[in-house]
Symmetry: C3
Subunit: 281 residues, 3 copies
């Protein structure tokens, strides 16, 4: 299997699929092609959320604001999974999640390995998705084909044996920010300093604050503003704000039938302070 993720919109990913089909009949699965445009950090959040659901596969992920510069093309092994991506950090958060065993691929010695792709003269200066990343993913998939249920060691050996891969000495990393939790005297969370990771297509504001920190509460303050905690959008009137836990497991700042990013005035990278408040209004 080869999964495909990008910020290319349409119809560019189809060109990648055509190129891959010239190399291999491996199944193609789209992750998304509307990932946050030119934002490897937000895209890494989504890939960290989605990729661990898959069985071992080759994942071709292209969010590449540096196309046309001399950034490397990277191949990252995490357990039996392989991520092919530009060397801008995008691959690292999902690789750690894959190696950590959400997919059951072990934790310890089968650590993450990174390789640089030796690219000589891609056909296009601007469409490395088609000219570099897709064919690399296809060749890796073909190299692994002899044994689709390969162990991490076997995948590692197969990558090491490929002529155009060499060990990456210092791949770019993205570390998604962790929230800072302040606890009260009883040890319960009283406040969290978090950060906006992404805005989805509905304008919902996705933070890095784990949902468990607000579950069971009725109200919290979001950057001072008293806001109801709800499990469903319908719990508040259309146009009203709410705080909820998104399908990804993190706190979202939303508006029923509206856009949370506008109402809360929040953008990716902004700070979000969430304070427990037990008032009844």
């Amino acid at each position: 299997m080869i999964t495909l993720a990008s910020d290319f919109g349409s119809p560019y990913p189809a060109a990648m699929k055509g190129v891959i089909r010239r190399h291999t009949d491996a199944e193609l699965v789209d992750i998304a092609h509307d990932l946050p445009r030119g934002d490897p950090r937000a895209a890494a959040f989504w890939l960290r959320f989605v990729l661990p659901e898959f069985p071992p596969a080759v994942h071709c992920a292209v969010i590449d604001p540096g196309v046309g510069t001399d950034r490397d093309a990277l191949v990252v092994r995490a357990g039996s999974h392989v991520i092919v991506a530009p060397d801008n950090g995008l691959a690292m958060p999902p690789a750690r999640a894959l190696a950590g065993g959400a997919g059951g691929e072990g934790t310890g010695e089968e650590r993450i390995e990174a390789f640089v792709v030796d690219v000589d003269d891609p056909a296009s200066e601007t469409f490395h998705g088609r000219d570099v990343f897709a064919p690399t993913a296809a060749r890796i998939r073909t190299a692994l084909d002899a044994d689709p249920a390969a162990t991490p060691e076997e995948v590692s050996d197969a990558l090491a044996a490929m002529d155009d891969l060499s060990p990456a000495t210092d791949p770019v990393d993205i570390v998604l920010p962790e929230p800072r939790v302040e606890r009260d005297d009883a040890g319960d969370p009283a406040a969290v300093e978090g950060e906006v990771l992404a805005i989805d297509r509905f304008g919902n504001v996705v933070t890095n604050v784990p949902g468990d920190l607000i579950r069971g509460r009725d109200w919290v303050r979001i950057n001072e503003e008293l806001t109801p905690v709800a499990e469903t959008f319908g719990a508040v009137d259309p146009g009203d704000r709410l705080v909820t836990v998104g399908s990804h497991g993190y706190v979202e700042c939303d508006v029923n039938d509206g856009r949370g990013d506008g109402a809360f005035d929040l953008r990716p990278g902004d700070s979000v302070r969430i304070v427990a408040d037990n008032v009844s209004v």
Copy 2:
């Protein structure tokens, strides 16, 4: 085959695909993931339109405004087709269409059967698409795998033999509204009281009025407003309104190069009165 339909946008459906791939290699076909958000009735209209085109398959359909409440997860058999969906009525209009034989799966004794999924403690309170519906669809597909061309009786037996399914006693139903036709002295349709079922992404207003009732006419009145009937958008000037028959076979209120919902001031659930008018303008 497993088809997938939702209002999840992107990249959530990819997480469902990953989960399914841990269970089965069955082909995955996307129906749509931009179905009307949180609106099981409008989504049921689209599923009733699309699903009968398919050969027997497992259809996983998640439009689920009640996620987080105690609504059941439902499995509905219709002929040799199986729909896995929340118990909010969504599955019923397409199930009736599938049982009715658009796909040739018979009409009579092979009636619709509904089962409740015994869900204990899903991993997430908010992403039952991934944690409940996708794995259920995958397990059903695996249970049927021995015979992909299974008869309705064989599908019924396979579902009845699954440990975590029990007969549904009173599943929620959605009955899509039928238009009321007033006929003239000659028995020809003179007026229709219909209803808006859905707005598509172009703003086209989809009604429940069958296209045959306006075919051959040049003009009709839509809620009093005289409007040309046209087979193609290009028959009227850009910005002008028209009435046409959509690809789904129902009357649409549209604007060439514009949005019909705004021009006609119509929303899902609104009444549409269509009156024959033979004026030449």
Copy 3:
């Protein structure tokens, strides 16, 4: 393999897939379903860009503003590829690219052949994608199935043997406009008279001017306006205009974090005059 391209949005293409699955298990690959609505010329540009990446396949392409009129349904062979499309010119630019050998399918005697589909009484007047083009693509794919690696001659013979295909005598053609290049005394390009081919979903203005004509320059004038040439959007400030070479290899007029069509006031079909300018600003 059957590829699918349309301007149908969602969920109409799923109905086409269901119909195809009643005929054949051939792999289905989406090219795009948000191609420029009702604009066969712009869609032909995108298909010319994408289809040559694929190995030989049956391509079902439906951008069909003439649905409901008596335009023919066409089958065009180009090398070992087959395009099924309305007879409005849409198929011709990609067919020439496919026959020209980007996919290695030869150039000379294996010329383009066109057939008309004998359609009697399609089920719907408005959804020929489902009722005419999809089943035709499925039947062609089945007819070729005996030998997936068929030569152009074998594909030609298979099409000629189909009962409901007859040679097209005068298929509609679209010839994408070629830019006119003015050279200076040294023979270098000094100015280009081009044309807008398409606007993508980000508002980027795609012209018919090959990227090679601006590569290496720092500034050009776009319809008089001095504009920087950049390899990446990030080379200019958010909101600022730039000229770049798109992934398709043609000159684009863009805005970083904004819409080029608005900023440059350009629409499909508009003229674009690009003049070399070596000022340093």
